[in-house]
């Protein structure tokens, strides 16, 4: 790891000023930054430690809205009784992510800022070509081992899968990220690679995430996060789905439904085709399975990740049907 200067700040204002400096990177939980610095991928000139800023870790939840401070730990949000009650998919996405130790370190703001990374991105010594690390250098994954790579939102520049879980639930329920001067939909905050794979977030120099806000809804209250993976725990998703459901008074017609998928796309991916096909329709298995297929209409595989195109609709359908069985 290349050495860096270390600066500790005690206010958001100081963090914003420091974040605007060339070569500066913010340090919160450090679980991605320190790892990538050890890999030789992240080479900050100055590390701005924001973890000592007070008052940024509040978790304020009502039926109408959740406001979660950027420095709240993943574990604390996952275990919060009000989050579990009003936004179960958010809690489930959090406790199924990473490990207990990492969740005690990683913050909500840092979680959103984790890099979209693939094994080639993390290995500059063996794979110098990576458009994320070095724009224009090429993509080592295309033509390589692609079992974990994305099938949605890819480009010729990059096919890395967005690895997070929390943001999948956030885009399903129209959450916003608070950048101080600006508030953005989480869905718009994340950028697909296109021709600029190095740019993963709509964030400008000097901007600091202070909170996320999630609007409450009936669908958010009846929601779940289903994560299917190669091993049962401590693993990235092969495919995952954040789903919320609201039924009409008849108990079987779908009034509102939210679907977002993880483990298959280059950014947190809202599956509006599935939602539109199901609104007003009866909640039965055949209808749900047919609609879930629509999530993969624009999918493109790179060989070994072909299975994701078959897997993701099944994960979506199972999540919806399981929710339908709950009262």
């Amino acid at each position: 790891m290349r050495d860096f200067s270390y600066l500790r700040v005690d206010s958001v204002e100081a963090a914003r000023n420091a974040a605007a400096l060339p070569g500066a990177m913010l340090l919160a939980g450090g679980t991605t930054l320190i790892d990538l610095a050890k890999c030789g991928v992240a080479e900050p000139a100055t590390v701005i430690d924001i973890s000592y800023i007070e008052g940024l870790n509040a978790i304020d939840v009502t039926a109408d809205r959740a406001v979660i401070g950027a420095l709240a730990k993943m574990s604390h949000v996952a275990d919060n009784a009000e989050v579990k009650s009003h936004f179960p998919a958010v809690s489930e996405a959090l406790w199924q992510a990473a490990s207990a130790q990492l969740r005690n370190m990683a913050t909500i703001g840092g979680n959103l800022m984790q890099r979209t990374r693939c094994p080639y991105f993390r290995d500059p010594q063996n794979f110098p070509a990576c458009n994320k690390r070095e724009p224009g250098s090429g993509c080592s994954a295309i033509g390589g081992v692609t079992r974990g790579h994305a099938v949605l939102g890819t480009s010729e520049a990059c096919i890395a899968t967005y690895p997070g879980d929390l943001a999948i639930a956030l885009v399903a329920f129209d959450a916003e990220v608070d950048l101080g001067e600006r508030k953005l939909k989480v869905e718009d905050f994340f950028l697909a690679p296109g021709a600029t794979a190095e740019r993963e977030h709509d964030i400008r120099p000097g901007e600091v995430i202070t909170a996320i806000e999630i609007p409450g809804s009936a669908a958010a209250r009846r929601s779940t996060y289903l994560k299917v993976r190669d091993r049962q725990s401590y693993e990235f998703a092969a495919a995952s789905a954040a789903v919320g459901l609201e039924l009409e008074g008849d108990g079987r017609t779908i009034r509102d439904i939210r679907v977002a998928v993880g483990g298959v796309a280059t950014k947190p991916w809202r599956a509006r085709e599935v939602e539109d096909a199901l609104k007003g329709k009866p909640l039965d298995e055949a209808t749900v399975r047919k609609a879930s297929e629509l999530a993969m209409e624009s999918a493109v595989d790179h060989g070994a990740n072909h299975y994701k195109i078959a897997l993701a609709p099944r994960v979506i359908a199972r999540a919806i049907l399981q929710l339908g069985e709950t009262a």
Partner: protein
């Protein structure tokens, strides 16, 4: 670290570990920090990049905390910061100044009486080579304290961040279950 490092940065300019230096690019310099480990205060001069794990092992010779993967994937370096389990390999030493750090060396009583989790690991033969054991035990103590040791299934889920290449998992689960039951009663 001295209090001067908590400053409002200038509108422009560079930092030399908290002190603005005009013109030149920021260059790493030594930090003087204080760490509170197992109730004792330690003064250290370190480079900013030094992790808590390397500070513990290489500088303070507290080698009970193990280096496995050094990338947050194995859990061998698990310690407690303010009572919560974290990975020392992904924590900068400078980042835990003023926090209360507990390592495996600080778990037993002063008179040598083992913590209930340590005793349970012995009784259940919950290790083979022992390299992952300090991390497993620190993780298990926190797992029980968090209330995440209510069933074998829950123990397996919340201990998933600690790998054991010898495959002692069934005995590890049994030890955590035994310690959790003992600490509840």
């Amino acid at each position: 670290m001295t209090s001067q490092t908590i400053i409002d940065p200038p509108e422009d300019g560079h930092f030399r570990n908290g002190q603005a230096s005009n013109g030149s690019a920021p260059s790493p310099t030594t930090l003087s920090i204080h760490l509170t480990i197992n109730g004792r205060d330690h003064a250290l001069d370190i480079e900013p990049r030094v992790t808590l794990l390397d500070a513990l092992r290489e500088r303070l010779h507290l080698t009970g905390t193990k280096k496995g993967c050094d990338h947050g994937q194995c859990g061998a370096c698990t310690v407690h910061v303010d009572g919560e389990r974290v990975l020392a390999c992904l924590t900068l030493a400078a980042q835990v100044e003023g926090r209360s750090i507990t390592t495996i060396e600080g778990l037993a009583d002063e008179d040598g009486t083992l913590h209930a989790v340590q005793a349970a690991f012995l009784e259940q033969d919950a290790f083979q080579c022992g390299y992952c054991t300090p991390g497993q035990i620190m993780s298990a103590v926190a797992c029980i304290r968090e209330g995440h040791a209510g069933s074998d299934e829950e123990i397996r889920e919340y201990m998933a961040g600690n790998l054991c290449r010898c495959g002692a998992y069934p005995h590890i689960v049994a030890a955590v279950r035994q310690a959790a039951e003992g600490l509840r009663s």
